[in-house]
């Protein structure tokens, strides 16, 4: 599989997302809004558990926000391209279907990950405002943000992209709305799901990383079931 071809597609998709102001504003707004709404929980907990609470927040929130942002960006890259019919032309270029899919996944993942990182920074700044001690991610959380978060974003984008290419327009619209509600609800629950007295360790991060890698492999395998015929016949 030619990596350079994948990056040509990825670069085009990245630039496409970044230049679509409405989409970027939505992504940035949610990063800011959820950070502002969630981080102040720090001031409500006892000093002894502030560090663990902050790390738990980072563990859950950055991951969920990354997936949510990926969900916002994916339809433009997969669904719109299919709806507008450009995917047919792309399928007639020297790229394989898997290269096209991979390029799009990489492109969306990079932008969604950058926004998740921005949210992590914002969260840290706001948490420090409400804390008497300096708060920074633990090494395990740092690894989580550097490896697990982008891996899960890629899993989410890959799965969404697979669905968009595989399913018809109506099914996709129904699935999009359902996923939006689920992820939005999950993000809103951030404050409530962070259990006090529980500290994220290397084990949780390692398990999640393994799960992400397995899911990526599974989705990559699933793309074998995508066919040009399936895509073309579900355009309209």
């Amino acid at each position: 599989m030619s990596i350079s071809k994948i990056f040509i597609v990825a670069k085009k998709e990245m630039m496409g997302i970044i230049k679509t102001k409405s989409q970027m504003l939505v992504g940035l707004f949610f990063a800011l809004w959820f950070s502002v709404m969630t981080a102040p929980v720090i001031k409500t907990v006892e000093e002894s558990v502030v560090f663990d609470t902050y790390n738990n927040l980072m563990f859950y929130f950055v991951l969920m926000l990354g997936i949510f942002t990926a969900f916002i960006f994916s339809p433009k890259v997969f669904f719109n391209e299919k709806r507008e019919g450009n995917i047919e032309t792309l399928l007639c270029t020297p790229l394989s279907l898997r290269q096209i899919w991979s390029g799009k996944v990489v492109g969306v993942t990079i932008v969604a990950y950058l926004i998740a990182l921005l949210a992590a920074v914002l969260m840290t700044i706001i948490a420090n405002i409400f804390s008497t001690s300096m708060l920074l991610p633990s090494p395990a959380i740092f690894l989580h943000i550097v490896l697990v978060v982008p891996a899960f974003i890629a899993v989410a984008v890959g799965l969404l992209g697979f669905g968009h290419l595989l399913l018809g327009m109506r099914e996709n619209q129904i699935i999009n709305i359902s996923i939006f509600i689920v992820i939005f609800f999950a993000l809103s629950l951030t404050k409530n799901v962070i259990g006090v007295g529980f500290a994220v360790s290397w084990i949780e991060v390692g398990v999640l990383l393994m799960v992400a890698v397995l899911l990526l492999a599974l989705i990559s395998y699933l793309t074998r079931y995508l066919s040009k015929e399936r895509i073309v016949t579900t355009i309209a």
């Binding site: 071809k5 019919g85 007639c92 020297p94 073309v232």
Partner: protein, 302 residues
């Protein structure tokens, strides 16, 4: 170059294409005609490897395009959708495809194609601001970005105003002069007549005709003879006489003129009959059948 052998395509048990056969040779401009829903786009998609035939084979350069990524470098396509991104400029659109096809000296190539499409002054503008005609021309430029040997074009001038249609037609003729093989999907008979050397007519998924345009005219069209008489009385007598001849299948009188459709080419006999009966003929000529006549004959005669 393009070989379609006994291709049948069924969707949900419904036959869309039924045993299609044709060859397009190198340097040929081939017109694939048919009314909407005849199966033209399905055939094109099968050739491109976007759809798999239920039975039969479709090859380009003797290979199946769908599974041969490298072979697709030799083929340029313009489908119903122009394959352009509204959010990108004309230049960026061409640049994206040039990168995908790994085009050498792509800056120079893009410059030439923008000139060719008459869009140099708009190269920095987003394609979303272009008219349909401009998009179509840019789409054609995109299809040629990698200098393909074979071009497959689906209704290239569909929805364009007459001026833009002419420009697209000139572009295709220019490409034909460069000995590129062109497959043209169209229901625009005038366009096909002016551009194509060979055509196939598809109707309800079945090939109704496949030959050179001149051969089809001869094969499917009954000869038509037009005469102009000197006065109304002559015209009436000539009309009555022609109607009585068994080798005249149809006859129409309008003013001093008559058009007679013959069952077989028998022009000299007609003139002898008219003159022999004392009818004064001012002018007589054979009418050339247009492709439209052939097309209607073929489709109606199915």
């Amino acid at each position: 170059m393009i070989e379609v052998q006994n291709v049948t395509k069924k969707f949900n048990g419904k036959t869309i294409l039924n045993g299609i056969n044709f060859h397009v040779h190198k340097g040929e401009v081939f017109g694939f005609l048919g009314p909407n829903g005849a199966g033209k786009t399905t055939t094109l998609r099968i050739i491109l490897g976007l759809l798999d035939p239920t039975s039969g084979e479709a090859h380009v350069f003797r290979e199946y395009l769908g599974s041969n990524n490298e072979l697709r470098r030799k083929v340029g396509i313009l489908l119903e959708n122009d394959g352009l991104y509204d959010g990108l400029s004309a230049y960026k659109n061409l640049d994206y495809y040039a990168q995908l096809y790994n085009v050498p000296d792509r800056e120079e190539k893009i410059k030439n194609l923008l000139d060719f499409a008459g869009l140099t002054k708009r190269k920095g503008d987003k394609v979303g601001t272009f008219s349909k005609g401009m998009k179509r021309k840019l789409g054609l430029a995109r299809a040629m970005i990698h200098d393909p040997d074979v071009l497959l074009l689906d209704e290239p001038s569909s929805g364009l105003d007459p001026e833009a249609q002419r420009m697209v037609r000139d572009l295709i003729l220019h490409l034909a002069k460069e000995k590129r093989t062109i497959f043209l999907n169209s229901h625009d008979l005038d366009e096909v007549q002016k551009i194509c050397s060979k055509i196939a007519i598809l109707h309800r998924g079945t090939m109704q005709a496949y030959d050179r345009v001149e051969n089809l005219r001869n094969k499917f069209s009954n000869p038509v003879f037009e005469i102009t008489l000197t006065d109304a009385a002559n015209a009436k007598n000539a009309f009555d006489l022609l109607q009585s001849l068994d080798y005249v299948s149809d006859c129409k009188l309008y003013g001093l003129g008559i058009t007679a459709t013959l069952k077989e080419e028998n022009y000299s006999n007609i003139l002898n009959e008219l003159v022999g009966n004392g009818i004064k003929v001012e002018e007589a000529k054979k009418l050339a059948k247009s492709l439209e006549d052939v097309y209607l004959d073929v489709v109606k005669g199915e």
